[in-house]
């Protein structure tokens, strides 16, 4: 390491020698930086999985515009939308089709634990509103009380879920009725439920007798190819009589749901703050280590100044130390953070994982903030006055 730095700087790696001079202090400093990294990794991982989980259901459908109730901040939130607005919207020349989307949670009481399945009711005659994987499997949904099950649902043995086929269906009781699962798809447990289920709108209404076919939860619209969803959504806001409705492009609806989860919901805000606190802890630790180090070497630095070393040399030492702390603290931090996330992912079956993007951004962030702390610590260098040495 020392040789590498020597070659790199063309001078003695003073920063490295100085940092490693006291082994215990160096180890404590690295542990501190690693700890900050673990905090950031875990919080970011949770935020990332929240984003994945929030966007997963949007991936089930193919739509250009979504009409939702005024209070529908998220897909699973808010009231109903009257089907009449769909008919009104379809008067727009660029809207080619529309479908009501129903949504509610179905409980599957299994031996031991219950499974809460976020269940979508769709029109099986309009498979163009579904992602290709789902569209190919809608045939059985034409039958009454038929469903497709999320094989990644939490609390469901993987082989049992994967064994569900049209030739080998699986039935279960819910609120006094028998529902039969004919096939499965890849969804995944989220924060709002253990997994997903897809049924026909008719089946949905049988399961939830209180709901009316005239009032789905959302309305999905498809547009003529090449139409701009943002522009059409804006025009529809003028066209549809109920001005309180949220009429957004499907992509915008997904993004707004995500930012709502991350900035308005307490969980999102808490994890966001966690990242901030991790970053602050890191900055404070690196600053503390570096400024103590500068203070401890005031006489040595003053001597170097007397010998003719300029300000750049001292900045170089401090930044060298900042980079060493950042880099060497990052490695164990990333390993422990990644390990913790994997472990948490196993326990919760949330999509918790360290992505390459996360590794790169945390590494970049660590280096940037280390250098920033170093820059603050260099202000103390001005205190090294060679005139005081004699």
């Amino acid at each position: 390491m020392s040789r590498l730095l020597q070659a790199l700087f063309g001078r003695l790696p003073i920063g490295w020698l100085q940092l490693t001079h006291s082994r215990t202090r160096f180890a404590a400093a690295l542990a501190g930086v690693a700890f900050a990294n673990v905090l950031v990794f875990v919080q970011l991982g949770i935020m990332q999985s929240m984003a994945t989980a929030t966007l997963t259901p949007y991936g089930f459908f193919r739509a250009d515009v979504m009409i939702s109730a005024p209070d529908a901040n998220a897909m699973a939130e808010g009231g109903n939308v009257a089907r009449q607005w769909m008919l009104q919207a379809m008067a727009h020349p660029e809207v080619t089709s529309g479908m009501g989307l129903f949504l509610a949670n179905v409980n599957w009481q299994r031996a031991g634990e219950g499974l809460s399945l976020t269940t979508f009711g769709i029109d099986p005659a309009q498979p163009e509103f579904l992602a290709p994987e789902l569209a190919a499997k809608t045939a059985p949904l034409q039958m009454r009380m038929a469903g497709l099950l999320d094989r990644l649902a939490r609390g469901l043995p993987r082989d049992e879920a994967a064994g569900i086929r049209p030739q080998a269906p699986l039935s279960f009781e819910t609120s006094g009725q028998t529902l039969t699962l004919y096939d499965s798809f890849a969804g995944g447990g989220g924060f709002g439920g253990d997994g997903y289920m897809l049924v026909s709108d008719q089946t949905f209404l049988s399961l939830f007798p209180g709901r009316s076919s005239a009032a789905p939860d959302h309305i999905l619209l498809r547009l003529r190819p090449g139409a701009d969803p943002e522009r059409v959504a804006a025009e529809l806001r003028g066209l549809v009589s109920d001005k309180t409705l949220r009429i957004r492009s499907y992509a915008a609806a997904a993004q707004e749901d995500l930012s709502y989860q991350q900035t308005q919901r307490p969980t999102g805000v808490i994890f966001g703050f966690g990242v901030l606190i991790g970053v602050l802890v890191g900055i404070v630790i690196v600053y503390q280590v570096l400024s103590t180090d500068v203070a401890d070497h005031m006489r040595e630095y003053a001597t170097f100044k007397a010998m003719g070393y300029g300000h750049r040399f001292f900045l170089g030492i401090v930044f060298e130390e900042a980079l060493i702390l950042g880099l060497l603290g990052f490695v164990p931090g990333a390993l422990v953070g990644g390990g913790l996330l994997t472990l948490m992912g196993r326990i919760t079956t949330l999509p918790l994982a360290v992505t390459p993007g996360m590794v790169l951004s945390v590494l970049a962030g660590t280096l940037v903030f280390s250098i920033l702390s170093g820059a603050i610590a260099t202000r103390r260098l001005a205190g090294a006055d060679p005139a005081d040495l004699f």
Binding site: L12, M307, F390
Partner: protein, 233 residues
């Protein structure tokens, strides 16, 4: 005779510490010219201004009033860049060794080579080993300061000041921490450098044996030069 014959010159040099009411004059009307290659010793009671004069001549303190010409450069209003460049041509030996605790003896001395620019590590090491050898420390190259005696540390500091072939050496009681033989050895080394390379030395000391080897003895009292005696050396 031009500036090259007198690496240090001062004229009508005054210096004050503090401001306003607390302002106190430490140096009065200093005039001096130090000849190249000579060993000048500064003596005088404690508080007479020896250290203050040394730091002014060595560009470690800003000139307030009067003239200091160091290696041909006027110091009054010198830019930090000029001050830094001039310091590289000097060798400072402080009363305290001020070695860097995490660098070995050889590495501490190498710092005195490295300041002159990007140099090959092997050459810097060889230069450091050579000077440490002259000071009797060949066996201690890889020791950290914590494992050296007080006198050894001071000799490392002297090696660090001399390794860059300074044109002027400024030393403040450098032999205080040294035993008799080491002290004498250091002075002989400085005298040799003076003859061989024209290295000029100004040293504060009360060591009689060094006074005997001086070319010139300047006596300070209350901030004034009150005695200037040329010696045979």
């Amino acid at each position: 005779m031009g500036d090259e014959d007198f690496p240090v010159q001062a004229r009508a040099l005054n210096y004050w510490f503090g401001r306003g009411e607390a302002r106190k004059q430490a140096l009065y009307d200093i005039d001096l010219r130090i000849a190249r290659g000579s060993l000048t010793v500064l003596v005088g009671p404690s508080g007479s201004g020896k250290t203050t004069l040394l730091t002014l001549l060595g560009c470690l303190r800003e000139v307030q009033q009067g003239l200091v010409i160091l290696l041909g450069h006027e110091l009054h209003g010198a830019t930090p860049a000029l001050a830094t460049a001039l310091r590289r041509r000097l060798g400072f030996i402080f009363q305290a060794h001020n070695l860097h605790e995490s660098l070995t003896a050889a590495q501490n001395v190498m710092m005195g080579v490295q300041v002159l620019g990007r140099v090959d590590k092997a050459r810097a090491q060889a230069a450091a080993a050579h000077v440490l050898g002259l000071l009797g420390l060949s066996e201690r190259l890889d020791y950290l300061p914590a494992n050296l005696s007080g006198g050894q540390k001071q000799r490392v500091a002297i090696a660090r000041a001399l390794v860059g072939n300074p044109e002027l050496v400024l030393a403040d009681e450098p032999t205080a921490a040294l035993d008799r033989d080491s002290g004498a050895n250091v002075v002989e080394l400085l005298k040799r450098l003076g003859q061989a390379r024209g290295t000029t030395t100004i040293m504060v000391t009360h060591d009689n044996r060094i006074l005997d080897r001086a070319d010139r003895i300047l006596t300070l009292e209350d901030g004034r030069i009150v005695g200037d005696e040329a010696r045979g050396g």
